[in-house]
């Protein structure tokens, strides 16, 4: 294993972590502010990807496609919040899980009805299609590098929004004491709709960005959703910073574990079984990570009890 390969794998881990962050940020925001467990967050990711694929097919422009993913997912978020989620804030978590699970089924079948069961075609823009050479001679796909940059920009924007703006103050206040900020004249239900739409837009953006290098298909959000839940549990529920750190930890553990474990096991057994046993163990690594974090910090890295 050369240093160059290791650096490339670290970049890969960063990139997958950044993508997870876009998913986890919305999830943790909605959970933290509204106390709502939204299993349908993965469906918003799927909606973003399908909107992007449809617009890219119609216009040929990737930027328009990205914009469409934001708009479509945010609009879906607003509709869902007004029609369903709004009725769930005062219910217990089990009701929320049940209702948002139903939303998954409805949105998946609806997408299948609209677009069919076969994966859609969405390609990366041709300027980003090839690799770029980084200092040190690492050839790395340009598109993945752009994903890292976009993700970091979104993270910075989110920190500014939550930490430095009036709306951010209201969001944080809503997290602490819902009745009090309502009494102070803040329109709490409009604020909740806004937060939900913001979370949905982030998931939609992640879906469109990832859809271009993976497959745009019904059900694509569910595996990501599970990882995103792992991320917010590790990071601490409600914490954007926790979501970022958790996502990077999960991304790096997943990528590096999958590469290094089979190599390490190769030293003590034959190559064929080392790769199959190594990759089996590697796929459990993030859950081991989660368990270890929870043993030492039961509320997650940045969670407050």
């Amino acid at each position: 294993m050369t240093t160059l390969l290791l650096i490339e794998q670290v970049l890969n881990g960063l990139q997958s972590g950044i993508m997870l962050f876009l998913m986890a940020a919305g999830l943790t925001l909605i959970f933290g502010v509204m106390g709502l467990i939204n299993l349908a967050h993965g469906s918003l990711y799927m909606i973003g990807a399908f909107a992007a694929a449809a617009v890219a097919a119609a216009t040929g422009s990737f930027l328009l496609a990205l914009f469409a993913s934001l708009v479509a997912a945010a609009a879906a978020g607003v509709v869902i919040e007004l029609a369903v989620i709004r009725r769930l804030y005062d219910r217990d978590h089990l009701d929320q899980v049940l209702a948002t699970f139903a939303l998954i089924l409805i949105l998946s079948e609806g997408t299948r009805w609209l677009f069919g069961s076969f994966p859609l075609y969405l390609d990366v823009p041709s300027v980003l299609a090839g690799p770029v050479t980084l200092p040190g001679g690492i050839a790395y796909p340009a598109y993945r590098l752009v994903i890292i940059l976009v993700g970091l920009a979104v993270a910075a924007g989110l920190f500014l929004l939550i930490g430095r703006t009036r709306i951010g103050i209201q969001i944080r206040a809503g997290e602490a004491d819902r009745e009090m900020i309502a009494a102070l004249g803040v329109n709490i239900s409009a604020l909740y709709t806004l937060v939900f739409a913001l979370g949905a837009a982030l998931a939609g953006l992640a879906g469109a960005l990832v859809g271009a290098i993976q497959s745009v298909q019904v059900g694509m959000g569910e595996p990501v959703l599970i990882l995103a839940f792992v991320v917010i549990v590790i990071g601490g529920i409600g914490s954007i910073k926790g979501a970022l750190v958790g996502a990077l930890l999960v991304g790096l553990t997943d990528t590096l574990g999958g590469v290094l474990l089979p190599l390490a096991l190769g030293g003590i057994m034959d190559a064929s079984s080392a790769t199959s046993i190594g990759s089996a163990i590697a796929s459990m690594l993030i859950y081991v990570l989660m368990a270890v974090v929870l043993i030492f910090r039961p509320t997650g890295l940045y969670g407050t009890a």
């Binding site: 050369t2 160059l4 390969l5 490339e8 794998q9 890969n12 881990g13 990139q15 997958s16 089924l105 998946s108 079948e109 299948r112 069961s117 076969f118 994966p119 859609l120 075609y121 390609d123 990366v124 980003l128 299609a129 090839g130 690799p131 050839a139 796909p141 340009a142 598109y143 993945r144 990832v210 271009a212 290098i213 993976q214 497959s215 745009v216 298909q217 019904v218 059900g219 694509m220 569910e222 595996p223 990528t255 999958g258 590469v259 089979p262 190559a271 064929s272 790769t275 199959s276 990759s279 089996a280 796929s283």
Partner: protein, 375 residues
Amino acid sequence: MTFKQLLAATCVVAFGAGAQADGVKVGMITTLSGGGAGLGIDVRDGFLLAVKGNDDIEVVIEDDQRKPDIAVQLADKMIQSEKVDVMTGIIWSNLAMAVVPAATAQGKFYLSPNAGPSALAGKGCHQNYFNVSWQNDAFSEAAGTALSGEAGKVFLMAPNYPAGQDIMAGFKRTYQGEIAAEVYTKLGQTDYAAEIAQMRASDADQIYFFLPGGMGISFMKQYAGSGVDKPVSGPAFSFDQGILGAIGDAAVGAKNTAHWSKDLDVPGNAEFVAAFQEEFGRLPSIYAAQGYDTGLLLASAAAKADVDDADAFRAALKEADFQSVRGKFSFAANHHPVQDIYLREVIKEGDLVTNRIVGTAATDHSDPYGADCNL
């Protein structure tokens, strides 16, 4: 899952309305949602096309969502409350291993339209289990032979589940040359950045991979963007019609092995391709062809024997007296296919990315596990 039940009920009404009491009741458990839905839908559509208008065959369809636990529940339901005679439909080897042995042990017939795990071809073979597709290793054994001497050092990649291991075992069994590396990924994995980096760093001359459905789409798109320019090849599952549209030009030129292709010149194939396109508005894949052949086989047996007379029905199945869209088709002693396997190349026909046959990779191929089967 009320919606799915409704869907299943609709299918029963649509396709079984004229069924007589002495017809065959078929339970189809296949993947209709999630990452592998395209495969299950093609098997279902091919099967229904083959038995269309056949009043002797009633079909109940359920979605296993590619989850073994759901497949087992559905199988119990089909056997106990639906009282099906024959089961079929499963796409994935891990699901087949969870369902098939139990179903055959309860006296049901199982016709596999896709999965062909080695365990069911060898020691675990059963008189009521018929595989109408292939044994998992088959395409790769043929590919290993076809690529020997020209591919150099090969980098192998497959998901870590029974079919992934079978397929790589098949390649290694016949390939005369060096294996540069062997990598197993998670089933359902969608990001292959780490594996592609390993390919770039390795001294392999060629990549041989097995990634069916959405996994193959993700890998091929990422591979094309990585700048790694080693040629790729694999069994047909990685380059099939259902996913070529989503991969696009990145797949053009890739070699793959299959028992069927839409341009295969045998009686009935052109008619099948035309009828499938007419009915469903898309080109059939190998999964559709397998589903179609499974339907034809079942219909041929149902016309000859009563399913309640298990011995007669089994003998009728064993004869494989139907015109396969693959051309010649017969069962070996372990009820797995004896068939030709072709080398295909991904080409562009106008705007359409598709396969054409460029050669024959194996003639009268049958699997090596039959020796362990005591049928």
